[in-house]
């Protein structure tokens, strides 16, 4: 298992390298640059600025410097658009915010989605099942940019229960709506997926064996059925969590949380190469870490996977 983990960690290095090189050149292909504006700067000033940020050098030299700084100093460079802030600063400030409500959103997805799916499966083809499935489909087609304004309309403007935006150091009142708005459609997906896999597992021969042992239904479900029924959900949750974090740009902007999504948008508008590149690396490291964690979790659950590691 340790061997496997190390091997996996080792493969990140070439992947990240390719990712950096690819994104680096791709970004430079886009027209404009961080210092182009409607009224062009005087040539001398422009040359000065470019020199200060090292943008006058040939591209491959810039790339080499960039990689060197990351490897030796863990320095992702200065932001081009935000004065006196480095990319490290920007990430250190915005990322914890996004990660916090992203985490609670994932908790919401699992804690609500899984039990709903299990109950629907156990009450297969009953009123509860249909209600649950109906609700799930309904909320799955509700994108967060529809849900978020709707929630603000109800909970903030009509009932005055929750603040309509801001972060305030991550107090729970400020976390709820971003987390729920972000997670609802995924929660519905998890519920439907869990329902389906639970139904499949309950019809499998080893559950019949468990029944033949005389085990009560509750034990059969908890001890025999839950684990295999949750495997597809787990597989689904990995990429979903990454989507939730990266796809939270809208939530960050709409609720003014001060999360990393806002910086991403600003960076894209102002061609802030270093911010964009820094965030791309951050997201890919996140994706990688999560899939690895998930694979390990998978191995912990499924002995067959474990023995193949």
């Amino acid at each position: 298992m340790l061997n496997y983990t190390l091997r996996r960690l080792f493969t990140v290095i070439p992947i990240l390298l390719v990712l950096i090189i690819f994104s680096f050149y791709l970004m430079r292909l886009a027209p404009g640059g961080p210092f182009t504006s409607e009224r062009p700067l005087p040539a001398a000033v422009m040359a000065n600025v470019l020199e200060r940020y090292g943008l006058d050098e040939p591209l491959h030299v810039q790339l080499w410097t960039y990689i060197k700084n990351i490897v030796f100093h863990f320095d992702f460079g200065p932001s081009f658009s935000q004065k006196d802030r480095t990319v490290n600063d920007v990430i250190a400030q915005g990322f914890p915010v996004t990660l916090t409500y992203g985490f609670w959103s994932a908790v919401f997805v699992l804690v609500c989605g899984v039990p709903l799916g299990v109950i629907a499966a156990l009450r297969h083809n009953s009123f509860w099942d249909y209600t649950m499935t109906g609700l799930a489909i309904f909320s799955q087609i509700f994108p967060n940019f529809v849900l978020a304004p709707l929630m603000v309309l109800l909970f903030t403007l009509s009932w005055g229960l929750l603040p309509g935006g801001g972060w305030n150091g991550g107090q729970w009142q400020y976390v709820i709506m971003p987390a729920v708005a972000l997670g609802t459609s995924y929660m519905a997906g998890v519920a439907r997926l869990t329902r389906g896999s639970m139904l499949e597992v309950l019809g499998s021969p080893f559950i019949r064996t468990a029944r033949a042992k005389g085990l009560p239904e509750r034990t059969i479900i908890i001890r025999h059925a839950l684990k295999p029924a949750l495997l597809p959900t787990l597989t689904y949750m990995g990429p979903v969590f990454v989507y939730m974090i990266t796809g939270s740009v809208f939530i960050d902007v709409f609720f003014s949380t001060g999360g990393i999504g806002q910086d991403f948008i600003d960076g894209a508008y102002s061609r802030d190469y270093s911010i964009l590149l820094g965030l791309a690396i951050l997201y890919s490291v996140l994706t990688f870490t999560l899939t690895l964690l998930l694979d390990l979790l998978y191995a912990w659950i499924d002995p067959k996977v474990r023995s193949n590691m």
Binding site: A212, L215, P216
Partner: protein, 326 residues
């Protein structure tokens, strides 16, 4: 008139099983009655779809949701068909064990063998974990799983097919039930392993006095194992007799056809005789002999009357006298 002097351990009375399906009722088992006495080895033979597995499942209360069972299955004075699940759970595995036909899929792939065996005695005998482990070890030894101590923590996929079937048998033995229903226990295994498994079941029956119902389509298996045989066709009992008699003087045209279809190792050149036609359509209740469309001895009456299972020690459901059969 009782075929066995001892009181029956389990008594199946007029059992009928129907399935509600998308296009109507399927009559899987029709008016089946038989007894099993203590220590008896009874074979239930029939082709696919003859209802033999459904009989075993109905005894365990494990029929599919769309099934309806009528009649009585008497065990220890209670009708298993009417028992609520909570009471049935006290009988399952403790009084009646079942061996399923596919050892590949009937074991939980996510639990160690120790837990899958142990949970049975923990449930029924209130055994502690360590007692349960000891018992699991004993039973694994009894079903001759080599190196049992080191295999306790193994998972199903780490065993070969034959070993998995032994684990499934071990499961049925954990509480030393009075009756074991073996539903095609060797179908998924190759011939040498088959012989070992049958030997094992034979030893169990001899040592513990367990009654065994062997459900199979393999007549060769029956010949060496069971004293009594029950032949099913279209969900009805065609013939029920001591195994020896079934083989020597089969009293039903269907049984005769079956025996003619068994390859003879002494005469490899002999032609195998298949029974013409195909199994009956069970979508309607049949009020005549289900076998008559394929029967070489059928007379007009066969298509109109339902023959009753009749006779002493050897019973048969056929309108024609034995002497007139071809």
């Amino acid at each position: 008139m009782t075929p066995h002097p001892k009181p029956p351990l389990l008594s199946v009375r007029n059992l009928s099983i129907r399935f509600r399906t998308g296009d109507g009722m399927v009559h899987a088992v029709n008016d089946v009655s038989f007894d099993i006495t203590r220590g008896q080895k009874l074979a239930v033979v029939g082709e696919s779809g003859s209802g033999k597995s459904q009989i075993a499942l109905s005894i365990m209360g494990l029929l599919a949701r769309n099934a309806q069972a009528e009649g009585e299955i008497l065990f220890d004075g209670s009708n298993l068909l009417k028992l609520p699940t909570s009471e049935l759970n006290n009988i399952r595995a403790r009084e009646i064990g079942i061996i399923f036909q596919d050892p590949m899929s009937s074991l939980n792939p996510y639990m160690t063998i120790e837990r899958q065996l142990g949970e049975i005695v923990e449930l029924h005998e209130g055994a502690s974990r360590s007692t349960a482990r000891k018992r699991a070890l004993e039973v694994m030894d009894a079903v001759r799983i080599p190196d049992a101590r080191n295999r306790l923590k193994s998972y199903a996929h780490e065993f070969s097919g034959g070993m998995r079937q032994r684990v499934v048998i071990a499961m049925a033995l954990m509480c030393q039930p009075k009756l074991i229903l073996a539903d095609e226990p060797t179908t998924a295994l190759d011939v040498t392993v088959q012989a070992q498994i049958m030997q094992l079941l034979d030893d169990i029956q001899r040592d513990l006095g367990t009654s065994i119902v062997l459900i199979t389509h393999d007549l060769g298996l029956v010949a060496g194992f069971c004293e009594d045989t029950l032949v099913l066709y279209g969900g009805r009992i065609m013939e029920q007799a001591p195994t020896l008699e079934i083989f020597e003087k089969p009293g039903h045209p269907y049984t005769r056809g079956l025996l003619r279809a068994v390859p003879n190792i002494g005469d490899p050149a002999a032609k195998l005789l298949a029974i013409p036609g195909s199994p009956p359509n069970q979508r309607r209740a049949i009020a005549s002999c289900p076998f008559h469309p394929r029967c070489v001895d059928a007379v007009t009456d066969c298509a109109e009357k339902l023959p009753q299972l009749d006779g002493g020690n050897s019973k048969r459901a056929c309108l024609r006298p034995v002497e007139e059969l071809t």
